[in-house]
């Protein structure tokens, strides 16, 4: 059982198994893998606790009803699955500021947390505008040969490369 404790599996093996997992998801759940809609449902649930009338009037929350569904449980499962894998391989590690970030922007925790918050906000705003994220558009859309999925993949890589190079330049990437 050494393989289950390995720190890293070949990316090709992991990719192939995610492909097989998507067969399972289509066949058993009648759903492609997708993550970002769950954030709309969760945000809607939180917002409804404070301002129920506002959520009820919102057109977007009417199409993506705030509720605990298959997709929200999928996200909860990701948390548990990654935790289990990290514990099994003893790679669970508290990280407040990644090394690569610290080498470029210093060790200040607040700076990294602020960037992570803004990054997360921009990320899911973009995902909802596009109608999906890396799993729903890129992997699930890509494997179904969806035009939308392949447009999304191209746009994400273009913007991601430009942004990462603008943030880090080429020299720190050796760190």
């Amino acid at each position: 059982m050494g393989w289950i404790r390995a720190k890293r599996w070949s990316p090709y093996l992991v990719g192939a198994l995610i492909g097989v997992l998507s067969w399972f998801s289509f066949a058993v759940s009648q759903k492609p893998l997708g993550v970002s809609t769950a954030f709309v449902r969760a945000a809607g649930l939180a917002e409804r606790a404070v301002a129920p009338g506002h959520v009820a009037r919102n057109a977007y929350f009417q199409s993506k009803t705030p509720k605990i569904d298959w997709g929200v449980m999928l996200v909860a499962g990701i948390l548990l699955g990654a935790f289990t894998a990290a514990k099994l391989s003893e790679s669970y590690r508290v990280e407040r500021v990644p090394d690569l970030w610290a080498a470029r922007f210093g060790p200040a925790v607040w700076k990294r947390y602020l960037a992570a918050f803004l990054g997360g906000l921009i990320l899911v705003f973009g995902a909802r505008l596009a109608g999906g994220c890396t799993s729903g558009h890129a992997i699930s859309g890509g494997l179904q040969l969806a035009v939308s999925g392949w447009l999304f993949i191209g746009a994400v890589f273009a913007a991601g490369i430009v942004t990462a190079l603008a943030l880090f330049g080429r020299e720190v990437s050796h760190v």
Binding site: V35, K67, D99, L100, G120, L121, G131, T134, A146
Partner: protein, 208 residues
Amino acid sequence: MFDPITRLALGLVTGFLFGFLLQKGRLTNYRTIVGQFLLRDFTVLKVMMTAIVVGSIGVYAMRDLGLVELHIKPAVVWSVLVGGLVFGVGMALLGYCPGTAVGAIGEGSRHAVPGLLGMLAGAALYAELHVPLQGWLGGWNLGKVTLAELTGTSPWLWIAGLAVGAVGLFALIEWYERRINGQVRCQASQRPERVTSSQSLPGTPVGV
């Protein structure tokens, strides 16, 4: 408020396996995602392209047997392109995509927690702006269309092309990774302090 319990359990099991695989693939690691965009670590591309090729074979085979239906998202061209660009900026800044950020929290990356709060804020903000944004960017809609349908060709032709293209891409990537890793070693040996710093970093991928 809740879907039926079997659906919820199915979602949890699927997610567990997904999260397990993302962690084993090191995709829940900040360095892996940012390294991909810096064109120094191609793990993301390797996993994504393999998943797409393997996934497409099974899903289209099951569809041909009448076992499953496709779930295609509409190609609303400007929304998808602008959304994808915005998403790419956010992904480079956060260092994760939505699924891998959640997985990163599971392996102890505390900075992914403010990332998660930001993602919820982003979802709430989008909900407020959905109607006007749809008005501005939603005009050009090709519909729920696949590359095969758009070109009037067989999906299997595309899948075969993707498989061949992926193998070629992987060969190129492996060659390129060997080349840049060789370069890093050369530069490092000229500057001894770099050797120790790069060797002591815990996130350095195996084999580098």
